[in-house]
Subunit: 312 residues, 3 copies
Amino acid sequence: MTVRPISVKLVVQVLRGVAQVDFMPSAVCGLFFVAALFAAGWQYGLYGLLGSAVATAAGYGLRLRRDAVETGLTGYNGCLVALGCAVFLGPGHLATVVVAVLGAVVSVVVTAGLGALLEGRGLPALTAPFCLVATAVTVAAPGFRRLWPADAGPAALPVAASGGTGLGWDQFWRGFFANVGQVFFLPQWYVGLLFLAGLFAASRLAGLMACVGSATALLTARVFGAPAEAVEQGLLGYCGVLVALALCGVFVAPDGWSAAYAVLGAAAATVLTPALGAVTAPFGGHAFTWPFVLTTLLFLAAVPAIPRLRRI
Amino acid sequence: MTVRPISVKLVVQVLRGVAQVDFMPSAVCGLFFVAALFAAGWQYGLYGLLGSAVATAAGYGLRLRRDAVETGLTGYNGCLVALGCAVFLGPGHLATVVVAVLGAVVSVVVTAGLGALLEGRGLPALTAPFCLVATAVTVAAPGFRRLWPADAGPAALPVAASGGTGLGWDQFWRGFFANVGQVFFLPQWYVGLLFLAGLFAASRLAGLMACVGSATALLTARVFGAPAEAVEQGLLGYCGVLVALALCGVFVAPDGWSAAYAVLGAAAATVLTPALGAVTAPFGGHAFTWPFVLTTLLFLAAVPAIPRLRRI
Amino acid sequence: MTVRPISVKLVVQVLRGVAQVDFMPSAVCGLFFVAALFAAGWQYGLYGLLGSAVATAAGYGLRLRRDAVETGLTGYNGCLVALGCAVFLGPGHLATVVVAVLGAVVSVVVTAGLGALLEGRGLPALTAPFCLVATAVTVAAPGFRRLWPADAGPAALPVAASGGTGLGWDQFWRGFFANVGQVFFLPQWYVGLLFLAGLFAASRLAGLMACVGSATALLTARVFGAPAEAVEQGLLGYCGVLVALALCGVFVAPDGWSAAYAVLGAAAATVLTPALGAVTAPFGGHAFTWPFVLTTLLFLAAVPAIPRLRRI
């Protein structure tokens, strides 16, 4: 009966790996997140757990620092990589499982490498390892016949937005929740609601800042005239959610100044999101959470120069 | 009557912000530059001043280091960001003003962030903050219906150059001055002449090196056969001007060796300019001063390894 | 008769410059490599020697550190830059010679600059200077009428792979050697065999790891279904060869763990190679050895965090 505590401990670490996508070292939050993934599709739930588990196991295999592995910091990039493979390559192919496992293992090495490069600057790797691996896999996929679904479209040049920009009340509140769910590539409003519930379960401030980030993104998208359909699916706001979390409470001490800083950052990330969509479109890539990574790294690097803000 | 010295001081700092685009901490030089902007169009003058003023104010609001704000180092990226918004999105829309102000504020944060990252290496941020923000805004613009003028063309693949490559005397001297003006996106030779006059007003060496950089770029473009029309508009040489300034007099002690180094760097930047035009074309971007930033950062990073050169 | 030892010393350094493309500070290895270049075409041999010689001379001219110049570390990027100009712009034009010489000189500055930036991290510049300069030149070339051969195709969007993926025995062994030769852009199997012989002549471990990297790349390409024709020409595997060399023996102490690490890295680089082909396709670029550089830098940066591995 000594096996059980160990396996419970491992389950807790895998769940924390899922929750760390939103910076929460909390297994309860991870449970909500996994429930949200299964609500969107059982394959997504399985791939998310698989990625976190493989990456956590790789962390043990490579004997990485224990505290990072145990708080889920080794698992979250693997979780996103595997989930991204399922969403963008189709969950039902054997080659997708193989590349998801390989990608999750590589994401652990990339996390350690980027972590070492950024540590000297006092900066976190955020989801940059996921962005790197997922960009590599999805852009490479058309070059491999077993990875690329036959009905997937080819790469294309970006085109100017069309369609209405007026946001009705229905589109507004759906977009508000979808912004939270699109962090995991999922557009359904009720999935986003489950993720938000998980955030509130882990930390009231985190839940609140996710709401602030989502609202800032909606407002920015509205002011500059983003197409309402994309806003409703959360495609403009998922990076704003993550930026707001990171810049007020997670990496910067929460107060009025950092809240304002988080709003500025969320607005910047909302403009940056279609920019990275356009940059990656010609080679068949996706924006992923690159806008969040770039905005947050630069805003965090500036914190020591701004006496009004304090790093945690 | 105590208000007046303060407002004069602020005007001086805003003018220095404009002059620092060409590394000059000189309000007189800034006056020439603002005159050049107004000569090209009153809206350009206003946007340039707006950007420098907003960024300088943001520097005070965030309580950044006083000496940086006062010498114009906080304002020059904001000046370029706002001017770039006017040139590429059209000056006459309310959304352009909003995004120019937002971009100028974000450029201050990015300048502080990049500055902190590069400071440890002894490297300056140059116009990288402007390049980042302007690339983000112009590439994102087609995704926002209020930002994108209806008659703007879509993104396109780069095509091979066509047209004659022989440079007549008229094209040569117009290109010579246009190279200086294109640092601010302006192709008119007389505008470039005003910028050059401002440089000479601030520093004879700076004016001379701008001429050396412009001539090197013209020669390089001629040798490899760049289209004469683009050369005449200064599209091949504006980065060469900035590189030559940076590598002989501004960041490297001026002597024969650093002059030769500046010529090599200006030639390299001239080849890099159409390369970055091609890289950014498929997603609707522009080369901006990326070729100058990349060339100068690498050439400056190499200086400590080259005993013949000495950093200032 | 005192001139002769000096000129022999210089020849040795130029040959080491060629050999350092594969990390070997060995003139004998360089002789094999030069023979391989001449076997593919006498112009390739001349351009390779020219690039190494110009870069080595520039290293002396700039008074760079003696040990780096003498072991060939100043020359290998210049060798690749000049060879790349010959392969991608056509060897028979005067402008190609001029840009090859200019590029080789610039590669020395870029090597010094990147070296200084990465040194603090304990990371080598690898072939990043070559990748930067060669990408700049080949992407800029269509913008210069004297650099761009009239019959060269325009830039195009990447398309999904087609053609069979089954590897016959003939394609397998040809691909196995071609992977080694494509490091120098050469697809002939016998040229790759000569390069491999040079590696074994310099170090038995290096020859062995080149074989391991090549085999790993073939296996990865086969599992995910890369087109057999590209595999046969070594287009999927040249980065795997370099990654395996770097991660077991050159920069990481050779043992079972680093061999496994090298296999993981070679597999990752094999997936990354068509990704970078797609990323660079829309602007007319090439993957060059970017996949090797990116994979190796991140895997090397992670080494200090992995107690099972030890940097050399």
